[in-house]
Symmetry: C2
Subunit: 464 residues, 2 copies
């Protein structure tokens, strides 16, 4: 299909107030999926979405999972050849507490004026009801103007994202065939700024380890034994203290061996204008530190890290206790980048640890999580389609961004369905996600709908 | 005075059963000073001792403190020139729990046969009623045989040793003049073995520090910030990991600068036969580690150390949390040896810490305790007197030993009264101090009495 897009855009613009009204209807349903007291409302939101999609010609259904149900809906598109696009989102929201910090009730959406125009304020305004409604409104525009969607679409909206998606892996495995598609589109990320769209193309992976050292068989008095026995805290300090060299490079053997060359991206991210001061201010800091030779954006997007996440051992109450503890424990995690293999890094850490372990000190090493980095190939025709769509709407090229942390659904979809995700989101950094007075700029909502509408047309012509 | 000692020895030997009986009378009083329910019995034990000392011609009194009362008693000795000797001990005992692990009731002393002869079993048998009764019985022998003591004596027995001596400093300050003496004698330590006496001549001191690092102003997500901000746990690991070099030497600047040359002792302790296997077995270990070039005894007696006593920071519960914590805290302590100054070491640690602190990371450093090492000069005439007395009774020279930890009373007496202590104790390592079936070998009790009786004569002739 190759139908003019202008009519779609006009339809969306003319009907914008109705789109906002529908989003408001959804926001009024307190689908706090994390709280069993709200199970009825959570299912109500899911059913509302099933009805919306059914009205647009989808074969829509509410599917049971081990936890909150999933909305799954299929549209055949115009028929004939062409890819199938999977849209992922979630209809559950975070609890609204602390309620007294909200200016207006969290489940009574209001439109208020802000410095960048009107915005809608409610729990879920952006995360993720607003972002999900953007593509649903884009589907509606296509249906209303041309009677069908330009491409085959499957929608999958989960109800447990804010609970850590405990049923996601099982559901994807069980519905692997039904959810099969060529590419996934996710709207759960942010723009570069309100005028500049962004596409997420790299997500760092994770290796999370817990190490416990055991020295003596019981706590010892440091006067009687100090100086002559292995102190697990001293040894843990030595191991952890050696993790980075003076240039901030991780010293685990082989850590950097298999890193993929990022090509142009490396230079782009090195030089990308970035409001580092604002980034640091959010953390109460005035200076960035990290691996020498890299910009802050590179350090958080494309460089692997090793951070200690927790340590405990010995006496930690008030005052002094002269103890040599029998045990000490640390949790640490590496953010992984493309090319790094979690199993190899874990082996490397074991070698690193054992090289620093004196006689008489034993250890246990547990893996508490491992996921590889994810990267969308910059040659992907779907990514190109998204770039073109965004350029069309915003009249400027999107910034290709990395993301320091993982998005579990993207990893799970990659693992179980074998497909990549286009991360095209329209949030802003100041949207107060998970916090009181969560908001979504109406300008972002409108541009998001338009971008999704154009993307549908572009995807119709794309093929891997 | 220069009176024959043999008559005293004979008197003590002939009257040994009576000495044991008096010790048993004292052991029957459950003076559990740590437990307010036993306050009546605690005071009863103190009064029993006041009466014993009064019967021996002492001007004896029970003095109030902020807590349990103190026994203070003075004997003028024979008059004329000569030193005054302060005897320190304590009449309070540890609680007896767990009671079901005692073979016989803890406050019903019994004489039982052991592999090394008869022993008396009861709470306080050795710690410290048995050891205190040794010098009281020696006083009695002198009184009975010669009508007086050969030297001026002050006795100070506290009732809060097992509670950490909370009133000791205040009491010593308030009674500084009354307790003034030339040397203090303490019987609260062990022999080398049942045939070989020991004199403690060195006690390591202590510097206890707590350091808190603050990086970001709140906990951060390691995905969003990891790699670009100071992680207080990473930095703490670096600081603590650098504390020792590969030879086990402490790297705090100036740490070893002012160490006193121990002369012959160094060689003696290097070569002293020591049952290291048994020492390690108590700690569940099979191998000693520590500063290169030193024996285990040197490492715990005469070498300074730095041990981390506690660390806490970040997430320490079950499972994984990808947090960069805002704060991390460590407690660490240095055992100090003669020549080291706690204030200088603390300054050195501050320098060491600041050299490893990246921009944007703040710290707090608190001192939770500081006490210098204590050493009895090997030239001290009082130490010579004790050596001579022990050689006389045991027919072999005592071993001059170090002690890895401090004895608070010895430090307090040094600080407030300005005098050294002779540490002449007759316990054995297997006496089960603070544990069920605490015992004291009667052979040790008898040799201890004889040694104290001879020591009184030798001290009469000693003068600094």
């Amino acid at each position: 299909m190759n139908l003019p897009i202008d009519a779609i855009k006009t339809h969306l613009t003319d009907g914008f107030d109705q789109s906002v009204k529908r989003l408001s209807d959804l926001l009024r349903i307190p689908s706090i999926g994390t709280d069993p007291d709200y199970n009825t409302q959570t299912v109500e939101a899911a059913n509302w979405l099933v009805q919306q999609l059914a009205d647009l010609g989808f074969d829509a259904d509410l599917k049971a999972t081990a936890g909150q149900p999933a909305v799954v809906a299929h549209h055949p598109g115009p028929g004939g050849e062409g890819p199938r696009i999977l849209y992922y989102g979630h209809y559950d929201v975070q609890p609204a507490e602390p309620l007294d910090l909200w200016t207006t009730p969290p489940f009574e959406p209001v439109i208020v004026d802000g410095p960048r125009g009107k915005r809608i304020v409610a729990r879920g305004a952006v995360d993720n009801k607003g972002q999900s409604m953007m593509f649903i409104e884009a589907f509606r525009a296509w249906k209303n103007v041309y009677g069908t969607l330009p491409v085959a679409v499957t929608v999958f909206l989960e109800g447990e994202e804010e609970s850590g998606s405990p049923s996601l892996d099982g559901f994807l495995r069980a519905h692997k065939h039904e959810l099969q598609a060529d590419i996934c589109v996710v709207s759960d990320t942010n723009m570069w700024d309100i005028d500049t769209p962004a596409l997420g193309i790299m997500l760092r992976g994770l290796l999370y380890l817990e190490v416990t050292l055991q020295g003596p068989s019981q706590d010892l008095h440091s006067g009687l034994y100090g100086g002559a026995v292995p102190n697990p805290l001293n040894i843990l300090g030595k191991i952890l203290g050696d993790l980075h060299d003076e240039h901030g490079r991780v010293q685990i053997p082989g850590f950097y061996d298999d890193l993929v060359d990022l090509g142009d991206l490396d230079q782009v991210w090195q030089n990308l204008a970035f409001d580092e001061a604002a980034f640091l201010q959010n953390a109460g800091l005035s200076q960035s530190i990290g691996e020498a030779g890299y910009s802050t954006l590179q350090r958080i997007w494309s460089r692997p890290t090793c951070d200690i996440n927790g340590i405990i051992g010995g006496y930690t109450g008030a005052g002094a206790k002269t103890v040599i503890p029998e045990k000490a424990m640390a949790k640490l995690s590496c953010r992984l980048v493309p090319g790094q293999n979690a199993a190899n890094i874990k082996d490397g850490f074991r070698t690193f640890l054992e090289a620093r372990l004196p006689a008489g000190c034993r250890y246990e090493l547990d893996e508490l999580g491992a996921a590889p980095a994810l990267m969308v190939s910059t040659d992907s025709p779907y990514l190109k389609a998204a770039e073109t769509a965004l350029r069309d709407v915003f009249d400027r090229a999107p910034i290709l961004v990395g993301m320091g942390g993982s998005i579990p659904a993207v990893g799970a979809i990659r693992e179980h369905l074998g497909i990549e995700s286009i991360l095209m989101g329209f949030g802003l950094d100041d949207d107060r996600v998970h916090a009181p007075d969560e908001k979504f700029e109406l300008r972002c909502f409108q541009n998001g709908m338009l971008s999704h509408a154009v993307l549908l047309a572009k995807l119709a012509g794309a093929d891997a």
